[in-house]
Amino acid sequence: MIRRRRRGLNKKKVSVDANGLSVLTELAEGEKAVIVRASGGFGLVRRLAEMGLTPGVEIKLIRKCPFNGPVEIEVRSVTLALGCGVASRILVKPLKDEPHD
């Protein structure tokens, strides 16, 4: 599956596996996705869920900092900053670009 991506400082290869899943940090700025699940410690996973990042919820990546910096996302009308370590543990399913966005 090939998708257009905005050019950013982050030149990491985009990896989307066979199920069309990707990692949150690999979304492009402005791209939307649905949370599939977060992996990691019990506390982290629970914390993310409490902040609204539950499986199935739609998010939008607003921006990311270079050199594996934090990412900023919008979820449930709230803006959250997630450290790279945290964001890289979140598996997402990117949504196809909506025609009217």
Partner: protein, 650 residues
């Protein structure tokens, strides 16, 4: 007779809860810690319609689980202390996330009123909320407010009283989950009711059942001591395992999802989006200040402006105040001599008045402007942006972006910075942040660095010292980070939207922080100053000078007299420079000696007031640990600097 009421404000962070608290209590508030916890507790009283109402401002949290001390403190207060009314402050512009918390308050079966705050801001974003519908959905009164202007606050109070005296009946929403989860909650609830009737007197049985399904460590710990708990816990584990098998998620995630489903449903039903949101000025500022390239220079400029303002303004004010108090002090001493002998007069004047003057000449000129600017940065919403930008760097010393906030405060004064380390989530992070903070040169240390090295050796050398300090912080921070057990925590932080800071909030914050500083710092400064003056009078200082000679002269290469200023400097760091200049002409020092003196002053434990703040926040063990590491590092680095510089500069 006035009737007494106790109410608690509960809600997420960044919803204007403190602003509501300020509107309710004005300056009539006491800020302290929860007993035995490093969690801030703000309390105030107000009088309304013949009632005396005590208001407790619970910490801003997102959930009532056990992620942080704040959450445990809050839920215990609500469940155990049972305040008459809980006012749940929610942000109208982020209803869904806020309702997640409201649902948990409903689970706790707390007498609830919802304060729908920031309705003006939500309206700007094109969000309008149907108050009646929301109130109907939740079964509790919903009062719209604008905390900044105080609109709606009177109605809020009237409602509080109506609910407390039973005039207004609540019919709170009974939170019901999806069938699979609900079935197990009810099953467990019955078991809890039967087996653990004692615990049901404190907590609602259903709530205990939910928490057990969520594997809540705090509740499990509390239950363990009861007879019959083993069976309940075992069954709870089985039920949780069943749920996890069905959903393929850890049980807390399943319950969070359930709550969010309900919150989403309610939010959708009561919200009307009126206009498609246009890109506002705030959003433009937001994208500039968090821009991956432009964001950093903006951050640097803001910090630079802040320090220039504080130091230029502060040093002038400080000089004026010093003149005034210097005159006052000598007058005071000659007046004292009418009644007392020389020694006692000296002790009282230097020890007590000297201590108070020391406090005032730092507090007024440097701390207050610093607090004002800090409150501006905070209230506008810039600090989280700065934290966002610095997250990457902070990770290198085992912290995350949020730690940048106390670090910045540390350049003003270490006392509020140590207190500010509360924003970190875990005890480990708090300690690490506080340690790093003590190494940041505060305003008083900057006076020494600029006044000695900057003035006599060159400004570029003084700036090099700052850079050196940052490198040192990095190295020491990393060592301590590696030595501390436990895993570093990643950044999960809400980015509140930018808003125009409110003068009232900025001034209230400045006032309460200044008050806090005075309470913590002044008694310690006075006691310390009295002790050292007493030691001086009985001639103890000569022994110290003699005793410290090998260290001061031999290892650090300083004149032996420099030992005394360094000891006195524990009271307030700029004293080191003032005393040094009284003992020896500063010009007689070599450049290397000046640099070494500045380095030692910069690194060794900030001052007694900071030690007091560390004691209050972390207990004596950790306060002592930080003190020892700082002093050892100062002596080690100072000595190395002397020995190395002596080779290169001779």
């Amino acid at each position: 007779m006035t009737k007494q009421l106790r109410i608690a404000l509960a809600g997420n962070a960044n919803v204007g809860k403190s602003a509501i608290f300020n509107q309710l209590t004005g300056l009539n508030q006491v800020v302290g810690n929860w007993p035995g916890k490093t969690v801030e507790r703000a309390e105030g009283t107000l009088h309304f319609k013949g009632y005396t109402i005590r208001v407790i401002d619970l910490p801003g949290i997102y959930s009532l689980s056990t992620f942080s001390m704040e959450e445990i403190v809050s839920r215990d207060y609500i469940a155990v202390e049972k305040p008459d009314v809980i006012v749940n402050v929610i942000d109208a512009s982020a209803l869904e996330r806020n309702l997640y918390f409201t649902l948990q308050l409903l689970e706790l079966e707390a007498p609830l009123i919802v304060d729908l705050n920031q309705v003006d801001f939500a309206a700007k974003k094109g969000i309008r909320i149907n108050i009646d519908k929301l109130s109907e959905a939740l079964g509790v009164p919903v009062i719209p407010t604008v905390a900044i202007t105080g609109s709606g606050v009177t109605e809020l109070l009237s409602t509080v009283i109506a609910v407390a005296n039973g005039e207004r009946k609540l019919a709170p929403l009974k939170v019901r989950f999806g069938a699979e989860v609900e079935k197990r909650v009810q099953e467990l609830q019955i078991l809890v009711e039967n087996k653990l009737p004692q615990i049901c007197k404190v907590y609602p049985a259903r709530w205990v059942a939910i928490k057990l399904l969520e594997k809540d460590s705090d509740i499990i710990g509390k239950l363990k001591n009861y007879v019959g708990a083993a069976e309940v816990l075992e069954h709870a584990e089985e039920l949780a395992a069943e749920l996890e098998k069905i959903h393929g998620e850890p049980s807390p995630v399943i319950l969070a999802s359930e709550r969010y489903t309900i919150a989403n449903k309610i939010a959708k039903a009561v919200t009307v989006f009126e206009a498609p949101p246009r890109i506002s000025l705030e959003q433009k500022i937001d994208s500039l200040t968090t821009h991956k390239l432009i964001g950093y220079p903006i951050l640097a400029i803001i910090i630079l402006c802040m320090f220039t303002l504080i130091f230029v303004g502060g040093s002038q004010l400080s000089a004026t105040l010093d003149l005034f108090f210097g005159a006052l002090s000598s007058n005071f001493e000659s007046w004292l001599l009418h009644f007392l002998d020389n020694t006692t007069a000296n002790l009282i004047n230097k020890g007590i008045l000297g201590g108070i003057i020391a406090g005032i000449t730092i507090a007024l000129p440097y701390i207050i402007p610093f607090y004002i600017i800090l409150a501006l940065l905070e209230d506008s919403g810039y600090l989280p942006r700065a934290a966002f930008l610095m997250d990457n760097l902070m990770h290198k010393i085992g912290l995350h972006g949020k730690a940048f906030i106390p670090l910045i405060i540390g350049y003003g004064c270490s006392v509020p910075a140590c207190i500010g380390c509360k924003i970190m989530e875990t005890e480990r992070e708090r300690f690490l942040a506080a340690f790093v903070v003590t190494l940041i040169p505060c305003a008083a240390r900057t006076v020494v660095i600029l006044g000695l090295v900057g003035r006599f050796v060159g400004l570029h050398v003084a700036l090099a010292l700052y850079a050196f300090d940052l490198i040192l912080i990095f190295i020491l921070g990393r060592i301590v980070f590696k030595a501390l057990p436990g895993e570093p925590v990643g950044l999960i932080m809400e980015m509140p939207p930018y808003k125009k800071p409110s003068l009232k909030i900025v001034l209230t914050k400045t006032w309460s922080r200044t008050k806090d500083f005075v309470y913590i710092a002044f008694p310690i400064i006075i006691v310390g100053s009295l002790t050292i003056t007493a030691l001086d009078i009985i001639g103890f200082m000569n022994y110290i000078t003699a005793g410290a000679r090998p260290l001061i002269s031999g290892w650090l290469g300083l004149p032996a007299e420099a030992g005394i200023p360094l000891i006195f400097g524990i009271l307030r760091k700029e004293l080191t420079l003032i005393l040094l200049s009284e003992l020896i002409p500063l010009e007689s020092l070599s450049a290397v000696q000046m640099i070494v003196f500045a380095i030692v002053t910069m690194i060794y434990i900030p001052c007694v007031a900071t030690i007091a703040a560390l004691l209050k926040e972390f207990g004596w063990r950790k306060a002592l640990a930080i003190t020892i590491i700082d002093v050892a590092a100062a002596l080690l680095v100072g000595g190395l600097a002397y020995n190395l510089l002596a080779i290169f500069m001779s």
